[in-house]
Symmetry: C2
Subunit: 1003 residues, 2 copies
Amino acid sequence: MRLSCGLATIFVVFAVVLREQPVHAACGYANCPAGKSNMINVHLVPHSHDDVGWLKTVDQYYYGSRNSIQRAGVQYILDNVVQELLKDANRRFIYVESAFFFKWYNEQSADIKSKVKTLVNGGRLEFAGGAWSMNDEAAVHYQSVVDQFTIGLKVLQELFGTCGRPHVGWQIDPFGHSREMASLFAQMGFDGQFFARMDWLDKKERMNNMTAEMIWKASADLAERSELFTGLLYNHYSAPPSFCFDTLCSDEPIIDGDSYDNNVLERVNTFIEYIQNVTARYRSSHVLIPMGDDFNYQNAAINFKNMDKLIKYANERQSVGSKVNLFYSTPACYLKAIHQEPLTWPTKTQDFFPYSTDWHSYWTGYYSSRPTQKRFERDGNHFLQVTKQLTTLANLTAASVDDNLNQLRHAMGVMQHHDAITGTEKQHVAQDYDRLLTAAIESAQTNARLALQKLTNLTSGEFVSCLQLNISVCDFTKDGANQVVVTLFNPLARPSTQYVRVPVKNEAYIVTDDTGRVVQSDLLPVPSEVQALSFRSKRATHELVFSAYVEKLRSYYIKKRVNRRSVDDQTGVQLNGWEDENISEAKLKARPLDIQSRAEIVVKNSLVKLTFDGTGHLNQVEMNGVTENIRQDFYYYNGAAGNNAEFKNRSSGAYIFRPNGTEILIGNTVSFSVYEGAQVKEVHQRFNQWVSQVIRIYEGVNRVEFEWLVGPIPINDNIGKEVITRFNSTIKSNGVFYTDSNGREMLRRERNKREYFKPNMTEAVSGNYYPVTARIAIEDATKRIALLNDRAQGGSSLKDGALELMLHRRLLRDDAFGVGEALNETAFGQGLVARGKVYLVLGKVKDAPSRYERVEQQQIHLPFWKFFSSASKASNVKVPKVSAFDVAQNVHLLTLEPFGTKERLLRLEHIMDKTESASVTFNLRRIFDQLGGEEIRETTLDGSLSLSEMSRFKFQPEGSKIRKPEYYKSSHTPLSAKKKDSTSKFSIVLNPMQIRTFIIKWK
Amino acid sequence: MRLSCGLATIFVVFAVVLREQPVHAACGYANCPAGKSNMINVHLVPHSHDDVGWLKTVDQYYYGSRNSIQRAGVQYILDNVVQELLKDANRRFIYVESAFFFKWYNEQSADIKSKVKTLVNGGRLEFAGGAWSMNDEAAVHYQSVVDQFTIGLKVLQELFGTCGRPHVGWQIDPFGHSREMASLFAQMGFDGQFFARMDWLDKKERMNNMTAEMIWKASADLAERSELFTGLLYNHYSAPPSFCFDTLCSDEPIIDGDSYDNNVLERVNTFIEYIQNVTARYRSSHVLIPMGDDFNYQNAAINFKNMDKLIKYANERQSVGSKVNLFYSTPACYLKAIHQEPLTWPTKTQDFFPYSTDWHSYWTGYYSSRPTQKRFERDGNHFLQVTKQLTTLANLTAASVDDNLNQLRHAMGVMQHHDAITGTEKQHVAQDYDRLLTAAIESAQTNARLALQKLTNLTSGEFVSCLQLNISVCDFTKDGANQVVVTLFNPLARPSTQYVRVPVKNEAYIVTDDTGRVVQSDLLPVPSEVQALSFRSKRATHELVFSAYVEKLRSYYIKKRVNRRSVDDQTGVQLNGWEDENISEAKLKARPLDIQSRAEIVVKNSLVKLTFDGTGHLNQVEMNGVTENIRQDFYYYNGAAGNNAEFKNRSSGAYIFRPNGTEILIGNTVSFSVYEGAQVKEVHQRFNQWVSQVIRIYEGVNRVEFEWLVGPIPINDNIGKEVITRFNSTIKSNGVFYTDSNGREMLRRERNKREYFKPNMTEAVSGNYYPVTARIAIEDATKRIALLNDRAQGGSSLKDGALELMLHRRLLRDDAFGVGEALNETAFGQGLVARGKVYLVLGKVKDAPSRYERVEQQQIHLPFWKFFSSASKASNVKVPKVSAFDVAQNVHLLTLEPFGTKERLLRLEHIMDKTESASVTFNLRRIFDQLGGEEIRETTLDGSLSLSEMSRFKFQPEGSKIRKPEYYKSSHTPLSAKKKDSTSKFSIVLNPMQIRTFIIKWK
């Protein structure tokens, strides 16, 4: 032990020295095994793919409980791998999921921790990916991806310094790959990424053409900043067939003893033959062979013992002429090896969606699976940004404050996992994610309360968050906001005006702002379909709506007025208004309109005009100077119920969207009510017993809001159903539509086409589905329609002029890709009911409506957060001590958070692309001072590496002259300044779509 | 590491010092964890039950191949357990099967070997049992049990010294327990034994009466020498329900982290509750809790991590009043703890057969399952004794010689395993056992050849062994023994005269002995049913039979004579004789007698007279002055074909014998031929297409030989069948019969009765079946019939006067006790055909025929071994240099073998019990000199412990006055002498049934 400790100490000193060197020369790379020249160098990469929840919950996986579901216990993987690595310095292992790693590491003794550090320093245990989880790439929002890499890489750096820093992305399991993810990797300073899943025809084509490895030009805006070497693995992420030495496999071990069963000759022959097949598909003399699979290495001794033997006996063949050279390695070492080679590579500019594995298996169902979970994750992100900012702004520093925030950071990291946000986990796991996220929000809520008590004069305010406001439920207000203070926090960088909705009883209220001024409010009924939801009976019947202007933080009072109620004299229907007209600002102007005649109905305000036809359907929208016949409908697809035979008869399931036949219209005629307030106008539509909607326009707001309510989807006909909403128009979109990539750049999609290969379009519907994380749009020469959504959904434009989004899915068959359950969500004893919003923006192409859409998109993603406190405690609510940040137009406050106790992380983003806006220049000095800054430095996107130290592998595209290995450095001079420096030193430029990350030391 | 090495060195010195102390104070016991007073002390015993073949072959289990059959790889168990033990000095593990342990140990690095020694020295890795395998107790012969303990304990001692010596038997899995096994344990110096399987009603009774632990008085002859503490485990040999932390289980781990799933409270509660239940059934304040199961600990980190937590959290409860104290321990340490307690124990004098697990599940099928395997194992033992003696007598010493012998020793150790000799393994495993044993015999054959080339003048003789002589097949002689030398080796201690049979062609031969004297021989036809066996077509048609007298080693010539063949003039049938009457000694006198008249037929010689009735059945035997109507028949039982529901509907299978209905007679009339030679008379009977028999009497031999041929058992009616032979007589046995215990003492059986409990006799046939390893007998006041057999079989006396033995079984259902296959043996594309011998001895009770039976039993078990050499090489065969040993009457040379290169092991046994003979005194000096002795010392039965050092725990029977802990020492003064000592010092006494073991150093 003493000898080891001595070595470790020496190494730490060495590592410190190395930090002065370029990163690519340190730690991992410095420790890479050398290949042999004139040989096929086989990089065996031991790894374990540890889902952060899937068939079991996160903790069930970690502890290895519920093993009857799946034999998986991550604690043992890490326990045993560390022991095995310690046995032999040649052995290597990569670890990916920080969620598991840190849970494990924190349980270890000082001795084991020290040994782990030795392993990391020696490149024997190397991190790949390193985020909290291996995130999905279709349904995630980039903000949450950046966050979860930030926490993962930060703790790795804290524990292991430079040596803990991953060099490559390892996105081996996500079901398709986004361009934005590649771009983020590049911005984080990664040298490359590897994955395993690609459309089977794409993969086939790339294997045939030696194009499985490429340079991904991952942004139309960021140029070299976003270029990333990307490699597709040969055989999924698995060991070669028959070479899975894991305790979960039943492949034959290497039997090298004095045994009748000795199989060394045969095993080595088989392996070498396999390597020759792989080599034929890749450009270099190095090949990357993953040696692992899901939850492998629980009994790592088996894996390493047999791999040791395989390496030994295969390499012994070299003495009789074999040209195959095996050694333990890592993806980073493989990447380093091929970076050294004089090779050029193909390029890629689009993304890898949709992913299909056979003619009938398009993995486009998960874009929409579990819609309420997908939405709740957005709530989690929303509140995380709010509490991170609040914790920072209030200068909270207690350790518990950090723990509270970390709990939500971690839960959100978990939610990004490719079986969480995707909805591809088992039902009990989904419930555990809900529990985890709820608990984490409650935990972060403590920070929010402490911060708000400090930042406002409401020093004993409760500042409660209500997580069911989407169905007009708030426990704190007893669903009737009598006498409450609503404190609004604006997580955006700049002031904003937004409408605020608060569940109330059918009473009269008066709303005043923090100056005591009465604010105009409308009272609207909660739709009868929402009120009828069994699990919210006797909750709020109405919502109070008012417009609020908030720089960063502001409180509003709501007080109940004693008042008479009115009843419509003619119908006897109780009117949602009061006759006390002298409180005009609280007066409700909405009235139910029972459309018997089915004549055309118009609902409009100063910006938007909606026309409904005689069947109750929207059929025309007029806004932004454009009038377009937009017909909105709901449909459902019947989910295919097959036997899951490959290439034949797949079922629609959690992963797969496979409609059986064409879509079926829901509701030929629509029952219909219109409520018109002073500021908000609502059309309440009911399509059938389980589909209803509110179409809503706010005064001064240039969009149409469609708040849908779908479910329980009936299955008494034993047919699963997948519900969409479709907007038809006359726009001549010519097969083209646009979808966002993880909420940032837009990608051009063309129906029935792919970038690299000719797709088989047997599944014409699901094969044209793409992830819509924030926006989908079509346009022609003059007009453009964009739909913004409130959660990730699958969407498409199956016909010119049409856009559709999948809202909800209920299926009765498993699709046989592992989850082992039909996606048949239930709650409260019935099929799950989901509610959500789609926003429509119609504009003139010449006005570049996309710019407006981007701004809207931000407000939808990060609206004001509402905190509720008792009005009794709020006798003296003053202007809070926080004002909006002083950032330039189009600049988004992507992140503001404590970064350890002495630092703060600030991330600013130019939200427009180069077609929408030019670069902006502005000065950070005021923000720096506002945050109590002492020093500021610029880092890679993740925050863990000084940008000046970044030096990424640059690979040469085909056609290049082959030179010596090159590296990407930061394309601008990183900001580095101290308090005493002149203000001019704080000036920064943000190019379109650029994100810049700063760490600010504060006192 | 250096520190560890230092400690190990210190320990070795210490261990040397300790060897001067009594054994029970050394190593394991010295390192036993101390319990706490006034607490329930819970000895958690980590163990892995590693079958030496069962569902997989030995090597498949060892290497972990074919894991799709069963997830089991013993190499990993040992790899990982050692690593886990090294992590914490409190951890303990016992290992049992030396077959696996040594295969593993030999593969280890010097570093690991050294660490293992440290663990063994510290009592952290302790051996229990320690034999080559965990032998069966029903079908094994004591000679092979002694052998397999000898090899196991010897290597343990060589590697680990005293610390490697097991203190307890650990027979946890065998399906019933023999008294002889307990006696052997006592004779080996063991302190006790534990097992898990006992008739369910017996167990129930013992749990109710706190009699699950007892003093087994395991011999009627050996008194204290055979007394052994015997403990029945509470819950099979498994961890408490829900506490199997193994990778093969799905019980919940201890979740003690900051987790929603934290289960420490519940898990500890459950465990403590269980312990309280166990405590209520046992007498002491200590309880033994096995923590393991079949092939557990492959991922030992899981087991130990969770047990660590269980111990920690359960013991933490002591601070709030819990009286339960958990710690890692071993069975020996448990035994030591209860030996220290002032307790008395019940006694037991019979055995634990048969074993049943419910009303319909008597584990009495395996007594007979795989009859050819059970026989082949006896051939293996036979040849092992022969080659051990030959290797010793020829003073062979080369390393390869030792390896050759070890291969057979090891294979025979494997064969004793409770899924090998039992026939309860899968078919492919049975084939592997055959392969293993065949290869081992071939290997040992090398020794035999070398020895015989040295011991005889036939210096280039082939000395080939023929393993298919039972069906008159010998490849060496091309099945026609033209011109060969037959060298006979007599493994018994004293000279013997036996008839020798050699397969030949239908020719005339002349046999001469080593003096050139012509020896009388008979030529008899191989029965037509044997000749018709498809797989031996064109093999020998006849056997040449002659009587040989051999002291230890002697050769006989067989030469073919040119001669005319004769044909029966009347029938045209070719006669098996020659007309050349002038070579009278080779003349055949046998003639086929076609019994048309079905009149009574008598076949007799000077000692025996057999009478057959008109249907061809034996119906009277006259010998030893007794005439008895003995009718012999073959029957079959239909095997039950149930659904294996417990207590209801079990199938007959490899383990279980469950007849469906009463037995069915085979062959109302029997076709019948009689062959009469000068010395041998044979009656060839054919009962049906698949059952035939030769009844044979030899001149001068006082027994009747029944050589049966059964199979292929037809299953075209889809009914499994179990074939027996039954001998009916008029003996008034009054429900009582006698069966041997592993070939040594006889046990009294009483139909429908048990020693301790009232059995449920729903299964009246199988519930009365007992293992017959060598002999079964009935008697009344005057007459006695004994049947001796040539392999282990199930047998019974279901009616007074009747004896039956089960010969062959073919079944179509699995009996659901794990093997997962029906016992439906096939070979050469059809149901397996088995051949074997049953010997009948009839006598007057007053003549004590049992004494004669014992002598016969030895000749049957260890007849002359035949070695074949080419006659051409044998021009000058002289008297070999070996003569018989000079032992007293009734003394058996149980073992003579090399014991390392410088020592020899000699085991002498008094083969009579105290009712049959008195003690014998004789002098070992001549044997000592014959073996080149320099020094001789006496040891425990296994040979690894000086008898003078033996000090076994003595437990007090109920009714004793409780004293301080007592110990058994050797009840006689152990022999210890040197070459220079006077002859008188070599005088020894052997009491009835006593075995004495000596190690002789030789030059």
